[in-house]
Symmetry: C2
Subunit: 398 residues, 2 copies
């Protein structure tokens, strides 16, 4: 019997308990032993809940219980659970988490602590909900040098952008609808400003570079300025607009950023609709591979936590190596990133554009303005040129 404790009986935590119980037989086969939830840690009581009797308010009951070998940290936040996670790992208990803030902030430190105590800190659920992506990077693409990751990592914004694309709706209207449906929160900044996606690409970038990419070092631009006109242009060009969390290593350095991008129909990311997430990985032998599914949701996320519980249970007393060093990665200035730009101009003239930007592709779609697509150039170059041109009303990276 392998005993597990769940820290935090909210959406994901209760999902973890449900998955462990509903798929108990299958999990037992996978592990070669029964897996049981012995405690649920929460400040609240849950009178009438099926697992009411497992609830404790005292973390010491759990950390001091030698029978507990695995902890699921589904509390969220980085203060109290950071302390609990450290103490659990120091006691040789593996920790499986869905807490992306924690992983993004303390991943390398907690992995090292797990290594020192012959246990594991696992976080498959922290990126892409139930989509397998952490373990594929760590245990499948091991013969690959990954040089680019592009992810649609936030379901709320992808739902909103899909609505805007399909219905020509305005940002404010789709946000309101997403809030009514419960997809977006009342304070939607974490989603629409790209902060959620930023934490997730920080984690993936750290795994890609095997060093720590601080989320504070990642340039973030949300979707709040995207308009129906942008989508009209996108449609005319056979493209769509997605919030892309990207990490890319080039000769100019290691880049990481979150921003809206024009995505062509040749990219499999263009077909990722609604609340679905996907991560497109480019590596030196395999070329492109993509991982797709529900990036959020109680059971999807819980299932990833339980997948980690199974991995931890199969490897009790053994640390599974994971390349993520505490050394801080040098994230290159985004001004050095070379890419193309889609630019809208109002009241300008095309001759002026050509004089400044040289060879461009013009697009006409909305009355009183036009747009153009530049050749590939660094953001620094783009800024210098753009400053010379009057009437620019918007730019979206390609």
């Amino acid at each position: 019997m392998i005993n597990v404790a769940v820290f935090g009986y909210g959406t994901v935590g209760s999902g973890v308990v449900e998955v462990i119980n509903d798929n108990a037989e299958l999990i037992s086969k996978r592990v070669g032993d029964d897996v049981k939830v012995k405690y649920i840690l929460d400040l609240r009581d849950f009178p009438g809940d099926k697992y009411e009797n497992l609830v404790t308010h005292n973390v010491e009951d759990i950390l001091g219980d030698p029978e507990i070998s695995i902890i699921c940290e589904t509390m969220g936040g980085t203060k109290v659970p950071y302390d609990y996670t450290k103490r659990a790992l120091e006691a040789g208990k593996s920790v499986c988490t869905s807490n992306k803030e924690m992983v993004a902030a303390y991943g390398a430190e907690l992995i090292a602590l797990a290594a020192a105590n012959n246990c594991n800190y696992l976080f498959e659920a922290s990126v892409g909900g139930g989509i397998p992506i952490i373990r594929p990077i760590n245990e499948c693409l091991t013969a690959e040098k990954i040089d680019c990751i592009q992810g649609i990592l936030n379901g709320t914004t992808n739902y909103m952008l899909t609505k805007m694309e399909n219905e020509g709706a305005a940002y404010d209207d789709v946000l309101k609808e997403a809030q009514e449906k419960g997809y977006a929160e009342r304070n939607p900044e974490a989603d629409v400003e790209g902060f959620d996606a930023c934490r997730k690409i920080a984690i993936l970038s750290s795994l890609m570079y095997a060093e720590t990419v601080n989320y504070e070092d990642i340039y973030v631009e949300g979707i709040t300025k995207i308009t129906p006109a942008d989508f009209a242009y996108a449609k005319k060009m056979g493209k769509t607009i997605k919030l892309i969390a990207m990490s890319k290593e080039t000769e100019d350095g290691k880049f990481a950023m979150v921003s809206p991008r024009m995505v062509g129909s040749d990219s499999p990311l263009s077909a990722v609709k609604d609340v679905f997430n996907a991560i497109l990985v480019h590596s030196n032998m395999l070329d492109y591979s993509m991982y797709y599914g529900r990036g959020a949701g109680k059971l999807a996320t819980a299932s990833a936590v339980v997948g980690d519980v199974i991995e931890a249970a199969k490897n009790l007393g053994k640390h599974l190596p994971l390349l993520w060093d505490a050394k801080k990665a040098t994230v290159a200035d985004k001004d050095a990133l070379v890419q193309q730009y889609f630019v809208r101009v109002s009241g300008g003239d095309k001759a002026a554009v050509t004089a400044v930007f040289g060879n461009v592709e013009f697009v006409e779609c909305v009355d009183g303005e036009f747009a153009f697509v530049t050749e590939a150039m660094s953001e620094a170059d783009y800024k210098v040129k753009a400053a010379k041109l009057s009437g620019i009303i918007g730019m979206i990276r390609m």
Copy 2:
């Protein structure tokens, strides 16, 4: 130092040697030790080849060398390599293979042999080339009960179907072009008749059911009868036609089959174009997840073999459990499978269709005929009804 032997210096085998050498530093980091190719087994000589000096014609040199702990079997076929694989596993040497015929025919037996000898038989490369799918099923979706797998598992036929869709081209013409480009072989039956996809879905089905699904028990229908008219109808319905290798567990049993299917734009499989492969998995907690990438190619496939080498190297002397029993799975008769059907009728009348099939959706697209989509019913029911109707010129499952 971990020493590896490569059996068969063809496309994949030479790719394995290339990946191990080109990504040596990264692999060494992953394994915690250097990995080196010590022997290449092939009947041929390779004068002037960079690794000429590693070539041996004598398998005994390798099987008798205690320094060799891992073998890459990239020979293909099931006679000679079956004997070699068994002897290697009996000697406690892990075997990593891209040989789908072998895995489909002897998977359970070879896994059990590996277990008995504390080594591993790994076959990530046998399905979907470099796309991680075997390990995600075995090591990520472990908290999931998988109830459906739908795969585009053959790049050649997907390339051909994409051409037919985009250009309205006829089957014979796209086959000829695919042969000229080297995507299809001179004897294209293994691809176009669905036999290749059948071996692959047999492997995935066996992992899904944790029992052995014999490929001979899988109903297979290729793409040779698909016409431009079928694609015209598909387009009118907002769908496309894909060769789908499917495994599905319902109340009526365990189904496995390979056949062309009409796929709607709501399925992420519809966006999988050209030579790309994808596997869409449905499971009870996560809902849908999909794995996408190049399903073939020297380096993509070799990379998956080397990923297995790394896994084997990290676990020398330890068998990694894998749920695939030798017990034969009972594959249900496809006549019991419930689904919808797209049916083309020439010279018939709609009243007769409605009289026989009840509520259907009619589609008009090609002169002199019409088509209809049935409600969901078993194949047995469909056959009974279809026999009552004259003028049916084609049926494609939905």
